[in-house]
């Protein structure tokens, strides 16, 4: 996977939201590692691209951030879902499922002919 951020932005945002939903508050680095792990290391993202995406989500009111201490006693900025964010995860996930389902119909060979 390259830096195709245009394809990325939407999906990356959904991944981040979904991860925050299941894991609770995370800092940027932790979130990036987590996304890689969940993808089974099949995603190799530039960690830097995560931050503008997080900023966008924050500006849109889906997540909020605050400074805290990490497990290793490092100061780090933590992100967590807002109420609006929780609603957004459900909405975006449903939309995504629908999109992939439709796309799947095009990609699998037609059964009834």
């Amino acid at each position: 996977m390259g830096e195709k951020t245009d394809v990325w932005q939407g999906t990356l945002a959904l991944m981040a939201l979904r991860t925050l939903e299941s894991m609770g508050p995370l800092h940027g680095y932790g979130l990036a590692r987590r996304i890689e792990q969940i993808s089974g290391d099949r995603l190799q993202l530039n960690y830097g691209t995560l931050y503008p995406a997080l900023l966008k989500l924050e500006q849109e009111g889906f997540i909020r951030s605050s400074w805290g201490l990490s497990d290793n006693n490092r100061r780090a900025k933590y992100y967590e879902l807002t109420k609006a964010g929780e609603r957004q995860v459900k909405k975006a996930a449903a939309e995504w499922e629908q999109t992939t389902a439709i796309l799947a119909r095009f990609l699998t060979p037609a059964e009834e002919a």
């Binding site: 680095y29 503008p52 780090a76």
Partner: protein, 878 residues
Amino acid sequence: MPKLRALWLRILEMFHPRLGDADFDAELASHVEMHTDDGIRAGLSPEEARRQALIRLGGMEQTRQAYRERRTLPWLETLWQDIRFGLRILCKNPGYTAVAVLTLALGIGANTAVFMVAQAALLRSWPAREPDRLARLIATTPQGEEDAFSYPDYRDLAAQSSSLEGILAYSRHVKMLRVGAESQAVRDDLVSPNYFSVLGIDAQLGRVFSAESRPDNEPGVVICDSLWHRAFNADPLLVGKQIWLTNRGYTVLGIAPPGFRGLERGVPTDLWLPVATEYSSQELADRKSREFEVLGRLRPGVTAAEAQVELDTLGRRLALAYPAIDKARNVALISERERLREAMVPTLILMTAVGLVLLICCANVAGLVLARADARRKEVAMRLALGAGRLRLIRQLLTESLLLASLGAAFGLLLAAGLLRLAPALMPPSEVEIGLDLHLDASVLAFTAAAALLSVLVFGLAPAIQLSKTSLVSALKGEGRGAVRGVKRWTMRNALVLGEIALSVVLLTASGLVVRSLLYSRSLPLGFDRQRQLIYFDLLPAVAGYNSERSAAFFNQVEEKAAALPGVRHAALERRVLLSDSGGGAEQRVSIPGVELPQGQLNVPIKFNAVDGNYFRAIGTRLIEGREFTSGDNPLAARVTVISQTMAERFWPGQEVLGRQIVADGTACQIVGVVEDAKINSIHETPEPYMYFPFAQMPSDYSTLIVEAESNPKALTARMLSEIQRVDRNVPVSVRTVHYLMKQAFWDDQMAAGFVGALGLLGIFLGAIGLYGVVAFTVNRRSREIGIRMALGAERRDILRLVLGQGLTLAAIGAGIGLVASLAAMRLLSTMLYGVRPTDPLTFAGSSALAILVALAASWIPARRAASIDPMQSLRTE
């Protein structure tokens, strides 16, 4: 919603750019540290771990940049930067900025003012609900179109039409409103009861006339908001009270909403009365008296064409039913769309004229911007060399132009508002209030903004593109300041100035023609002697409750008093004053025994006046043959008439006229005299038949006493007024002088001359600035060349000639183009011109000579400067 929130936050971020940066730097640092920690834990050396962390991040600076672009709005940020930079540049060159802004303000202001006038006079729709469905009804006759209908004809149309859901009628008059001891003239409309309901207008206070009400006993009046404030201090208890109009009391029914001043542009109505309170039912049944203007409202979904078909039928039915009166007449409908289409032609002419001025202004500013751009070639080249994109550069330069235009538009609006204040002084003289409803509104602001944007495209785009094409190497090396570099730029600048001079020649030619037309109009014979000191006293004894016998006695008494006053050469009575706003229009239907009238009509309408024996002598109308009226032409004697020359030639060409008979409104009169034609309603009317009857044989309850003073009309006026007061102080008198009437009569021509003349002056003024700019710029650029020439022995005279020659060549070519363009353009003016052909060679020669003269003056200053160049110094600075 989230998108909006994000946008809002990004805009807010722009105001404290540094704050977020520090926060994100800390976040990035902690990210890298944590990643490094993990690397060390996995067994890497600290340096290697940090290197890996940075690689996975994708670069510190790249991440920061991506983050920053998301945090704020980059394009808005650059725009803001451009604006600040532009403002700095403009402030650094206050002279350049002032001239450019002033030039643009003149152009934009003039356009805004003219647009406001065009909108108020031509474009604005009826002041009514759903004005698109309103349509004016007019009568078509073999003589042309007429506005006026008789009330019975109107009633028939209103009753029979099904395509129009309502038809209203109104007739305009002037009354004297008496508040306390003072009287003032007010305009009243006599209206059909459904007037307000067809328009869809309700009172702001009280009520309007209802279509059903029959106000038999108590006459009611609706007054306009302005009069309510002016005359009654906006008295909230006025409704239900009585006010005195001319000779009767009227109950105020209601106050019309603010801004509603009737249906006639430029002549605002003060109050409205139902026809039934003013006219008896017999008078309203008179099909011959046509004084009502008629407006209809189309039923929803009915097109104007469909309504026209129906009106055609109704009109023909009327003509069949009343052949004696309505023969050959039909009814036509002018829909709102058609009215607008007709209004477009004068609007376009107006806007084109004033648009030309804006074009000249833009050309001028383009010249200035080009000159400035030229001086900035090094700066631009430097920025290009440092990696600025050309588009970015064009945007920066356009932003500067936009700033200039915005400032120009702001000052232009101020200018237009100033002109607006001047507007009442520019209105023709009148006893009652006149004037267009001019005000700034959203459409005017939109127009101004559009004009400013358009000017940016005209004056800003070309220089910006030109500048961004700057060749790096030659600019940095300081080339282009030598002899003949940048030929392309020259042609373009020269073309601009050529265009300016050509345009100003066109405008000058137009003003020359209009002024000559005015001079010609002033020399036209009027049929009376305007040099005499004539004073007109308009007498309204009916207001004081006189009947016609008492009025006649009153008039005679006043005339005798006047004739007896020292300093009075003549005194005379007349019914209508020539060339005044109440001067004509009333006609009698005349049939002529033994003469066949055109189109088989039984009679023709002919305008008339009633005058007494001294009238022709007093105003100086020449008697061609026969006699004037005498005291013998009294009510008991045989009816007589004096006719105009044109009437004599029209009906009895080459024959003896004296002693013949005409029948005017059923009364046979003998022609006893023929006088020269006089102008009845306007200076430019073609002479038409006109009749005079003896004042004594045609009594009326109003009259005008004309006094010809030997000298000092002011003192005589005062004495005359007190004489009239002594006869009866209750009779209202108003005074006019021949000077006032002349001002009124020549108003249109004078305004046209003033307007076009002002444009012409503005044009040549701007042209001069433009030419000056070009020549001065050339001198700057050629200073080294001039220095060399002088070093090689050129005299100051030669340099002067060189520079002046450049200016004059441009001016001569421009004037030539302007003359050719004028030949085509002046045809548009031909309907406005009297006594001068649109191709008048004298005017053409004059305008081009003036343009060349001004060009000479404009080139003189830079030429003198060029001639005073010190060759040593100019060579050294390069």
